[in-house]
């Protein structure tokens, strides 16, 4: 915190000295230029005529969409059930597959630090960095449209997330308990079952419910690429411009998301 003096010889407090102040300004200038360049590119790719027209279009869609077509709910029950199944089964399968990956990826349980651990980490990264909608797109091309493709997409996408959080939990366990079990002469599997698993069980349950909540959200849109669930109805209604049905579906999705968030918060509160 340098202090300089002004014209009258009074000392003035400054947060930075001159050089770091200049550097700071240069950084901001550079960042602003990047942002403005990006914005200019986006603006060039935009038909501004449509944008100025947007409020009218939005109002138009609003009047068409309201009120929602309440009678349509009868055909929605089955897609809702499908969506729930996609999310739940996807989470279950993902957990089953994530546990071994997590044990292979954690520094203190991996059998081989230089070959197996990087492979496990690679699985985690590639599963995490690709959105479930892209996985669904790919799986629809492979196994055909339907719930099965959606469930597989959710499974593959969730493995990375669950395994990452789980292996971080495994790395943070209390080593003395493991040592105590080992001292009784337990085998490798017994050490795992009685020394490690009880320590990570609360984290595991928390992760499972947390991911289930996210999966409910994601499975509502998987239908857009043909992978089953309520998104299929949404896509159909959008394509036929049946806005009252669209608004009802969006309302149903909103309610489902709120319920799943409430359930997950309750369960996590009970566990932790």
């Amino acid at each position: 915190m340098p202090v300089s003096s002004n014209k009258n010889g009074l000392k003035v407090w400054q947060r930075r000295d001159r050089n770091s102040q200049l550097l700071n300004w240069a950084g901001w200038l550079f960042g602003t230029i990047i942002f403005l360049y990006c914005w200019a590119q986006i603006s060039d790719a935009t038909e501004w005529f449509f944008v100025w027209d947007a409020p009218r279009i939005a109002a138009d869609i609003g009047t068409r969409a309201l009120p929602p077509r309440w009678g349509y709910i009868g055909t929605l029950w089955e897609p809702i059930w499908d969506t729930l199944n996609i999310a739940t089964l996807g989470t279950l399968f993902a957990l089953v597959l994530a546990v071994p990956v997590a044990f292979l990826a954690a520094r203190n349980t991996t059998p081989n630090r230089y070959i197996i651990r990087p492979i496990a980490l690679l699985i985690i990264v590639s599963s995490r960095s690709i959105n479930s909608l892209i996985w669904a797109l790919l799986l629809v091309a492979i196994v055909g449209p339907g719930i099965f493709a959606g469930m597989l997409a959710i499974t593959i996408r969730s493995i990375g997330f669950c395994a990452k959080l789980l292996y971080e939990a495994i790395e943070e366990i209390d080593q003395s308990q493991v040592e105590a079990i080992t001292a009784t002469g337990a085998s490798r599997w017994q050490v795992m079952a009685y020394g490690i698993v009880p320590q990570i069980l609360p984290a595991f349950a928390g992760i499972a419910v947390f991911r289930w909540d996210i999966n409910i959200r994601e499975s509502t849109v998987l239908g857009l690429v043909g992978a089953g669930g309520i998104g299929l109805q949404l896509q159909g209604s959008l394509n036929t411009l049946a806005w009252p049905q669209v608004s009802l579906i969006l309302l149903v999705i909103l309610v489902a998301v709120l319920i799943s968030e409430w359930v997950s918060a309750k369960v996590r509160g009970a566990i932790i």
């Binding site: 986006i42 089964l89 590639s126 099965f148």
Partner: protein, 278 residues
């Protein structure tokens, strides 16, 4: 219930000697344990039953799956290089612009959503904005915005900005609510104005967290921008969708590999920066 509780409190050593040790049950109440198990089994049977798998179609598709895996082994970066580059650049532009705008908007909303700073009416409004932004899936927002603003990166930019607000404002507000009151009070005691108070009392405390979260959000926005193209909101997703539709799996594999690498690099960088500021 009473039996299990007496077991726990009045356990005598003599009772236990000579008996084999048993793992304590995960759920103590018998009724709950069996009820939950049976309920779970019934649900699983119903759910798996509703899963119609057309095995003929699957075996037919496995061929394509194999082609895709082969595509990964031999990705084709060159034949659609121009499309890939344009899509990627558009994705990056959308990511940067929307993150900057999202942060700028979410700072005032985050301040408003912190109960220890904002008065109650402001708090309720800001929390409402956060809740709406978090509840709506990005893809659904993108569909609506594409319908309103037309195809192109502007719809994607608006979608990502909107999603950033919910994420950043919520976490920022929680951080402000957890801050150390003493420092803020010391600044206030010097007779500072409201902006000075925020600037010197609150801002230095939340800055490390804000930088970390912003970089994390940049990372998320890039990932999301890769899918927004599927619904017509610009970016590399549009190129990817076209590649899939034409069954050009080698090009699709190349695009996916690029996404994975960029995400890995971003995640690594954000890890370093977050470790530095915190």
């Amino acid at each position: 219930m009473s039996r299990t509780s007496t077991l726990q409190t009045d356990v005598r050593l003599e009772d236990l000697v000579g008996r084999q040790w048993q793992k304590p049950a995960f759920i103590k109440s018998n009724m709950w344990r069996w009820g939950l198990t049976i309920g779970a089994i019934i649900y699983l049977i119903l759910a798996i039953g509703s899963l119609e798998v057309n095995w003929a179609r699957v075996s037919e598709g496995l061929d394509r799956g194999l082609q895709f895996v082969l595509g990964f082994a031999n990705p084709d970066f060159s034949s659609r290089a121009v499309d890939i580059r344009e899509g990627l650049i558009e994705s990056v532009e959308m990511t940067i612009a929307s993150t900057v705008v999202g942060i700028l908007i979410s700072i005032p909303i985050g301040l408003g959503a912190a109960r220890n700073i904002a008065p109650l009416p402001v708090y309720i409004v800001c929390r409402g904005i956060v809740a709406v932004s978090r509840a709506l899936n990005e893809i659904i927002v993108a569909i609506l915005l594409v319908a309103i603003f037309g195809f192109g990166p502007l719809a994607g930019f608006l979608t990502l900005s909107f999603a950033t607000i919910g994420f950043l404002a919520k976490l920022l507000a929680e951080d402000i609510e957890d801050m150390d009151k003493v420092q803020a009070e010391a600044i206030r005691a010097t007779g500072s104005t409201w902006t000075q108070w925020i600037n010197y009392g609150v801002q230095p405390q939340i800055m490390p967290r804000l930088i970390g979260l912003s970089i994390y959000r940049l990372d998320i926005n890039f990932r999301e921008s890769a899918v927004l193209g599927l619904v017509g909101a610009g970016g590399i997703g549009a190129t990817l969708n076209t590649a899939f539709d034409r069954y050009e799996f080698d090009t699709a594999a190349a695009i996916l590999l690029i996404i994975i690498v960029v995400v890995m690099v971003l995640e690594y960088l954000s890890g370093i920066i977050r470790a530095k500021v915190q």
